[in-house]
Amino acid sequence: MPAVQETVDRVREIDVEQYKYGFVTNIESDKAPKGLNEDIIRFISAKKGELEWMLETRLDAYRRWLTMEEPDWARVSYPKIDFNDLYYYSAPKKSGYGLKGLDEVDPELLATYEKLGIPLREQEILAGVEPKNRVAVDAVFDSVSVITTFKEGLAKAGVIFCSISEALREHPDLVKKYLGSVVPISDNFYATLNSAVFSDGSFVYVPEGVRCPMELSTYFRINEQNTGQFERTLIVAEKGAYVSYLEGCTAPQRDESQLHAAVVELVAMEDAEIKYSTVQNWYPGDADGRGGIYNFVTKRGDCRGVRSKISWTQVETGSAITWKYPSCILRGDDSRGEFYSVAISNCHQQIDSGTKMIHLGKNTSSRIISKGISAGKSQNTYRGLVSAHRKASNARNFTQCDNLLIGQDCGAHTVPYIESKNASAVFEHEATTSKISDDQMFYCLQRGLSEEEAVALVVNGFVRDIIQQLPMEFAVESQKLISISLEGSVG
C-alpha cells in the first residue's frame, strides 16, 4: 500500500470525536420560544433594548425573507432546514446587558473561555505580555456578548469596540448610518434572515486618522442545542484609519447540525485600511458526517473612499457546510481588495467558498490567493467572481487557486466567473491541482517523520504564503490547527 494511501486511510479514521472544543457548558439560559415569527423578533429586539427603527428594520427583513427561496446553486447538499424548529435567541442568565463587569459574569462562562484559551481578564493579559501583542476581545456566547475587553483603553484612542447590541443603544446614529449599507437587508436569503433575527456580534469604529492601537478580535461560541447563531458585525474605518480585526469560532459537538448565519459589513473610507482575519473552527461533524455547523455567511467590504484597502484572510478548518464569499466592492478610485484563503475539508465536510471582487472605480486592484486542501470524502469548491464595470478603467486582478488533494474520495472544484465591461481591465487567473506525492511522503518518512507529521509539513508548506498574512500570534495557532484538522491527533 503506497504511503499516501495509508495516510488517506489514517485521515479517514480520524476520530473527530477528539475535536477539542467539543465540550458543552452547563449553564442556565434565557431562551426565546422555539420557532420564528414576528413575536420572536419583537422578543429579541426587546431583550436588546433596541430603538423602534431597529425593530422596524428587523420586521421588514423578516417579511421579505418569507418571500425568498433558499439558494441551491452552491455545490453543497444537506437536508432541508426547518426554520421553525430552531431557537433564535439564547443567552446565559448572568451575562450581557446590564452587567457591570467581569465579576458579575457567571463563573461557568469564565471557565469556558479559560478552557478555550480566550483571555478575558485584562490584568492577566497585561501581565507578562508585550504591550504590542495585546489583543482586545469581544466574547459572544450563543446570542449575546459576554464581555468586551480593553474598551476603556481603546476609547482613549477614540476607537469604539463593543457588542453590536451595545452600539445600538449607545451609538444608534452611527450604527444606523452604516448598518445594512454594505449588505442590504434583501441581499440574499441568509443575510435577510440575519437582518431579521441577528442577536449579537461586534461593532468597531475607528475615527479619522486613527491607527487602532491593538488587534481587535471577537470570539464566537455556540453552546445551546438547536440554537442558531446569527451574528452581525460592522466595522467602520474613517478617513486614514487602520484596524486589524480577527474572529475565531468554536462549538460543542452535537449529533444535530446547527445553523450559523452571520453578516459582516466593512466600510473603509478614503485612505483607510481594514484587515479582517478569520480562523474558523466550528465543529465539523463526526467521521460519518453527523452533526456539525452549517455556516452560511455573508461577508462584504466596501472600499468606499479613494485609495482605501480591505483584505480578507481566512483559515477555514471547521463546519460541516461552509457557504461563504467574503467580497470587496472597489468603489473608490485606486482602492484595493485582497482575499487570502486556506480552506481545509476532511471527512464529510463540504465547502463552497470564494470571493467577489467588484471593480467600480478607476485603477482599482485586487488579489485573490486561494488554497484548498481536501481529504477524506470531502468536497471543496472555490467559487469566485471578478468583475469590472464600465467606469473601472485600468482595473487589475490577479487570481491564483491552488488545490491539494489527499486521497481518492475527495473532490476539489474551481469555478471562476469573470465579467469585464471595460476593455482596459486586466484579469489574470491561474489554477493548479496537485497531490501530496508518494515521493514526498517517502522522503519525509525516510527522515523519520511520521505520516501525520509529513502530511502536516507538506500542507503547511502549501499554505505558507497565506499564513504569513495573519497576525503573528494567530499564524502559529493556525499552523497547529491545520495540522490537527488533518492528523489523527485532533486535540
Binding site: A3, F442, Q446, R447, G461
Partner: protein, 253 residues
C-alpha cells in the same frame, strides 16, 4: 552480528511485476564502507529504496536483517528511527517548507523516538549552523524551501547535512557525487569521512573512482542485472574504471 545482512533478495515493481533484484546477497559490518558500482539500470537505486522501505517495490524472496532484526515489515519511518539513512540520487522538493524547518522536524521526531527531549531552538540553531558550515551551506540556503530550486550540488550537500544531523548507523549514499564540482566533491567527501566510525557503516553507490579516491572503501561490489556479480577490494574499482563492465555483464545473465 553484522549490522546489515541481505540474503537472496528478490524484488519486483509492484505495479507491473518487472523483476529488478534477482538474488542479492550482501553483508555489511559496523565500521565498514562498501562501494556498489554497476551499469545504469542494474538495480542500485532499487536496492537502496528497498532497504529504506519504499512502497512501490515488492519483495518476493529473501530477507533483510538490520541489527539482526527483519526490517522488511517495518515502515520507512521506523527504519529511519532504527538508524537507516538514504541520501537520495534525486532529492525531493518540498515547496513552502524551509530547509531549517524540515531539519528541525526530522531531528526532533527522531529524538522523540529515542526518548530524548526536543532540542531547544537555540541549541538546535547552534548545531545546524556548525554542521551547515562544514557543508558550505549558507544560512540563506537554510531558509529556502527544501530542494526547491537548489542546484544539483546544493541538493547533494543538503542530503549530507541531513545525514550529519541525524547521525544514522547505516548510511546509504546513492550517487552523491553526481553533479558535484571538484570543490563540492571534497566538501561532501570530508562530510562523509567525518561520519566514519566503528559503530557506523556506509554503502556508497557510485559510477566513479574519483569519489572513491576521497571516500576509500573497504569492499567494492559490482551489481549487474539485479545481482552482485563480483566483490573485491578497492582495486576492483580501479580495474572497472579501466576496463568497464563488459566482463561482468555476461555473468549475470
Amino acid at each position: 552480528m553484522a549490522l546489515l545482512e541481505i540474503k537472496n533478495l528478490h524484488t519486483r515493481i509492484a505495479e507491473d511485476g518487472t523483476e529488478i533484484l534477482r538474488g542479492v546477497d550482501l553483508t555489511v559490518n559496523a565500521g565498514e564502507v562498501h562501494a556498489i558500482m554497476g551499469p545504469n539500470g542494474s538495480g542500485k537505486s532499487t536496492l537502496s529504496y528497498v532497504l529504506a522501505g519504499k512502497e512501490n517495490y515488492e519483495v518476493t524472496e529473501g530477507e533483510v536483517l538490520f541489527n539482526g532484526e527483519n526490517i522488511l515489515e517495518m515502515g520507512p519511518d521506523e527504519r529511519a528511527m532504527a538508524g537507516m539513512f538514504l541520501a537520495f540520487q534525486y532529492p525531493i522538493e518540498i515547496p513552502g517548507v524551509a530547509t531549517i524547518t524540515f531539519l528541525k522536524a526530522a531531528l526532533n521526531s527522531q529524538r522523540k523516538a529515542r526518548g530524548l527531549d526536543e532540542l531547544p531552538t537555540p541549541d538546535f540553531m547552534k548545531l545546524v549552523r556548525e554542521k551547515a558550515k562544514q557543508m558550505n551551506i549558507t544560512s540563506d540556503m537554510l531558509k529556502r524551501p527544501l530542494n526547491v530550486g537548489f542546484s544539483g550540488g546544493e541538493k547533494k550537500r543538503s542530503e549530507i547535512l541531513q545525514m550529519a544531523l541525524l547521525e544514522p548507523t547505516l548510511c546509504v549514499l546513492d550517487e552523491t557525487d553526481s553533479g558535484l564540482d571538484i570543490d563540492a566533491l571534497k566538501v561532501v567527501s570530508n562530510g562523509v569521512n567525518a561520519l566514519r566510525s566503528p559503530e557506523r557503516a556506509m554503502i556508497v553507490i557510485t559510477h566513479y573512482q574519483r569519489l572513491l579516491d576521497h571516500i576509500v572503501p573497504d569492499i567494492v561490489h559490482v551489481l549487474s542485472a539485479g545481482k552482485i556479480v563480483k566483490t573485491g577490494g578497492p582495486d576492483l574499482a580501479l580495474e572497472l574504471e579501466k576496463n568497464g563492465y563488459a566482463d561482468y555483464i555476461g555473468e549475470a545473465a
